[in-house]
């Protein structure tokens, strides 16, 4: 393997200084002279026809500079990445409680907040649809009357002959799994400012925006402006995890409409409650799996029915669920597969992109099923995965042969197993905890007796904590796959003093992309990272590169940066070789110098730039990277879904208090093959952060919905993991070879998050002898096999 100078070494983040000193500016840190605030007006309904909006109680109020609603929108009133179903301001219907009918705009936000309840909205309530499984019933309320029914999308996948497969199976397991709504939980709530620049120049948007180019497109559509007249600049992002996309486009459009109307800068900032109320979530899934397998543990057939709750708007549901249909069978060879994935409308909060993007849900189901099969056959979780796991040359459910990269599934699993002594611990726990399953029923059994226990149900203190260990593995397609157009560009401009400007069209979301891109450019040009100055994300400069999603940034953006840097390097080599009359091959770039082994000459990188300039070569370029061909057959779900894949395995070690249902997570061991690790410290940070979110998904985090309304409105009820929840995390990388991107650097952000809940669920089974099918596996789930919710939405009820 090539020796690197910068790649894979610890490198300080580009933006760390500002962030460590409190000088980094996030959207809400900006104020402008004459700036106004926009405050949302909502309706206390989940599904209703808007009959009349009466502003008379606030219209004359001096605190209200302007009232903005759908009448102020000059062009397109509804937007959306795939289906244009989401209004900037609702005027016909309310389809979920987060909907906004108008915005009060004025200088004093506090006064506006007090005034907003005075706007009177007359509405006719409609039946509320909250159960996604009922949304396709003939008599289900129609969420969007313009569509024929409540279907957002349906993906079939058909391979082989599932019925024949079941007939050839020795065993069949059938099971239903469910997962919950999840809040992204970025610590910075949404904030954006729109600044009017006058008729000739349009409007500038500055905000906590994940994909500035998408925001630009939406704002331009809404205002009826050409793209060039909407300039979107990204403020420092206080976390996103996929959550600051659609929602920020909508908020940007609202602010922009108000800014144009008032001709003053308008800021919208959400508090936490409002953020949770309106922003989209991770999809809850209802998953039915039927799996046939032989006595030898070979998977024969799978039939999978999945319904994703898309909530009130389509948002990214079609993309999210497409990943699901590709990966639903997990990293295992299955000859016969029948999968149907549906996403449907309900009146629940809408769901869209979130880190994981359609994979954490099926992994929660399918990795538990693998353990169930192992238990049924008396095998270990390792054996069953060895028998069925992908190897080089394996064929996926969509008929894709995995032969263009190192298929490292068994490598990552074996490493994790070795590291934790998994098999031995798992077998010991299985034996030690054989008595638990029966005891664990005490709460349910007590129901008949008014919840009063019997003496033999009481558990002694020394028997109460049980150890469990659980494993989960996955494969994950890199980048957008056949679901989107996959190209990126990067701008690189080397200056005559040897420093360089760099900007990739893929925006930083807080995960450290800027640093990674600088590393790539620095490596190729033989520079130290500090020589590269990463420009502010601005749609006026950066080329559109599609969204920062699907963990595609390192791979795709890295590819474009590499292309740009190589182009410049070639030009420099040409010029220097010519100047020195040496062969191009003899020239090397390292440590800010350019040398030739032929004449043993070496000059500073800056001087080499001077030579290149003198040779009339352009020191600036736009690099480009195009994803290799992929394909997809809509009717059969067959094709080369993604051009390459990554592999991961996580093992969770926990203890469960079988008298209370408390789960303490002691250790998570995460082994990932992300391809080449470009930025070691950044990669470690992605693992620790992803594991923590994944475990949070499995145990504590849940948005529950009552009649369309959310119960957990702030961080006192929506429980993010604190510093005390996971005792330790170990991260290990296996750097598998791949020809794509920058030296085969692939993805890491999402694979780290998708495994935690499944690993924890398997560990809980190991500790309790009981399997839990409904995420999150919280206190009540463990003891009662169900969730408990207060009847009303009031806080603090017992």
């Amino acid at each position: 393997m090539k020796k690197f100078n910068v790649v894979g070494k610890p490198v300080t983040r580009q933006d760390a200084y500002e962030k460590a000193t409190g000088t980094a500016l996030y959207a809400d840190d900006y104020t402008f002279p004459g700036m106004l605030y926009g405050v949302m007006v909502r309706v206390p309904a989940s599904h209703a026809i808007i009959d009349r909006i009466d502003y008379s109680a606030v219209a004359g109020n001096p605190a209200v500079t302007a009232i903005v609603d759908h009448n102020d929108i000059p062009a397109q009133k509804k937007v959306g990445p795939i289906k244009q179903d989401q209004p900037i301001f609702s005027w016909e219907k309310i389809v979920t409680p987060g909907d906004v009918v108008a915005m009060l705009v004025g200088q004093n936000e506090t006064e506006l907040l007090q005034l907003r309840d005075k706007v009177s909205v007359e509405f006719t309530a409609l039946p509320v649809l909250t159960d996604p499984l009922k949304s396709m019933d003939p008599d289900a309320p129609r969420i969007h009357p313009q569509y024929e029914n409540n279907a957002i999308v349906h993906y079939p996948l058909r391979k082989g002959d599932p019925e024949k497969g079941f007939a050839e199976s020795d065993y069949i397991i059938e099971q239903t799994y469910t997962t919950q709504f999840i809040e992204h939980g970025y610590i910075e709530p949404e904030a954006v400012i729109a600044i009017p620049l006058g008729k000739a120049k349009g409007v500038k948007i500055l905000g906590s925006i994940q994909n500035p180019h998408t925001t630009r497109k939406v704002v331009a559509l809404v205002l009826g402006l050409p793209l060039t007249k909407v300039r979107v600049v990204q403020a420092e992002m206080g976390g996103s995890f996929g959550g600051k996309d659609d929602q920020m486009n909508i908020l940007s459009a609202r602010a922009a409409v108000a800014a144009v109307k008032t001709n003053r800068p308008v800021k919208i900032r959400f508090n936490r409650e409002e953020s949770i109320l309106e922003s989209y979530k991770r999809h809850p899934y209802h998953m039915h799996y039927k799996v046939g397998f032989t006595n030898e543990g070979k998977l024969k057939s799978m039939r999978i029915h999945i319904t994703a709750d898309g909530g009130a708007y389509a948002s990214m549901s079609p993309f999210v669920t497409w990943r699901t249909v590709v990966q639903a069978t997990g990293p295992y060879e299955v000859e016969n597969v029948f999968t149907d994935v549906h996403a449907v409308y309900t009146n629940n909060p809408y769901t869209g992109a979130m880190r994981g993007f359609g994979s954490p849900q099926p992994i929660f189901a399918q990795e538990q099923i693998m353990d169930e099969i192992a238990l049924k056959l008396g095998m270990s979780p390792l054996q069953i995965r060895e028998i069925n796991g992908f190897k080089t040359g394996s064929v996926t459910a969509s008929g894709q042969k995995l032969d263009n990269h190192e298929v490292n599934l068994s490598t990552v699993i074996n490493k994790a197993v070795e590291e934790t002594n998994f098999v031995e611990k798992w077998q010991k726990n299985q034996k030690d905890n054989a008595d638990v399953a029966k005891q664990l029923n005490f709460a349910n059994d007590s129901e008949a007796n008014q919840f009063i226990l019997t003496k033999d149900q009481l558990i002694a203190p020394d028997k109460t904590w049980r150890k469990g260990i659980g494993l989960a593995a996955s494969y994950r397609g890199c980048s957008l796959g056949a679901e989107g157009i996959d190209v990126t560009s990067a701008y690189l401009s080397v200056q005559l003093d040897g420093s360089a400007y760099l900007l990739c069209g893929l925006a930083e979301n807080g995960q450290g992309l800027r640093t990674t891109f600088c590393i790539v450019a620095a490596e190729i040009l033989g520079l130290t990272v500090d020589k590269i100055f990463y420009l502010e994300q601005d749609t006026a400069i950066a080329p559109d590169s599609g969204p920062t999603v699907a963990s595609r940034s390192t791979l795709m953006g890295g590819g474009a940066v590499r292309n740009a840097a190589e182009t410049i390097r070639e030009r420099m080599v040409r010029s220097v070789a010519d100047e020195w009359k040496v062969s191009a091959d003899s020239i090397t770039f390292a440590n800010n110098t350019v040398s030739s082994s032929e004449n043993n000459k070496s000059v500073t990188f800056a001087d080499a730039c001077g030579i290149t300039y003198k040779h009339k070569e352009n020191l600036a370029t736009i690099g480009f990277y195009q994803a290799p061909e992929v394909s997809w057959e809509e009717e059969t779900g067959q094709g080369s879904a993604y051009f390459t894949y990554v592999y991961g395995c996580q093992i969770a070690e926990i203890t469960v208090n079988i008298a209370t249902g408390q789960v303490y997570v002691e250790k998570v061991t995460a082994v990932h093959d992300p391809g080449t690790v470009l930025n070691l410290q950044g990669a470690l940070g992605q693992v620790y952060g992803g594991v923590t979110q994944g475990v949070g998904y499995g145990i504590w985090e849940e948005i529950s919905v009552h009649n369309g309304k959310i119960r957990e409105m702030n961080l006192d009820q929506y429980l993010l993991p604190t510093s005390k929840e996971i005792d330790d995390i170990t991260a290990i990388f296996i750097e598998g070879k791949d020809e794509h991107g920058a030296w085969g650097a692939k993805s890491l952000g999402e694979p780290t998050l998708e495994l935690g809940a499944a690993a924890v669920a398997n560990a809980i089974q190991n500790a309790t002898g009981t399997r839990f099918y409904h995420n999150p596996i919280n206190l009540e789930e463990i003891l009662l096999n169900r969730k408990l919710y207060p009847e009303d939405l009031k806080r603090g009820s017992l």
Partner: protein, 153 residues
Amino acid sequence: MKKHIKFLLNGREMACEVEQNKRLLDFLREDLQLTGTKEGCSVGECGACTIIVDKLAVNSCLMLAVQVDGAEVMTVEGLMENGELSKMQQQFIDKGAIQCGFCTPGMMMSAYALIMHNPDPSVEEIKTAIAGNLCRCTGYKQIIEAVSCSCGK
């Protein structure tokens, strides 16, 4: 209704007029334009607004500005020492403890207050000190390492 207050802010004496119903967080961010201190929940759960008042870490969203009358206040802007990064700031940078950075100011304030009282904290003590500072990005591990390495040892 405004009230006159005097206090020490990052070592500088301050004398200000402040609305009595203003939260300390808003006073810092809006009146004094010290935007390093962040707001993430407004109810004491996230810790993004953490500052140090009279040597103790507190949530500035749960205090009124008038309450710092006569007190000694430190915010993230006061961490630099003679225009240089303090050891803790450097450690946060070096250990990769910063991703999106939104939790960082509050996190460093909690950690700084801990080290003022306990120059050699254990990992458990560090975890306890920052349990009221939510970080969604890092999983805390590199933060704990950074705090650990900021101590005298």
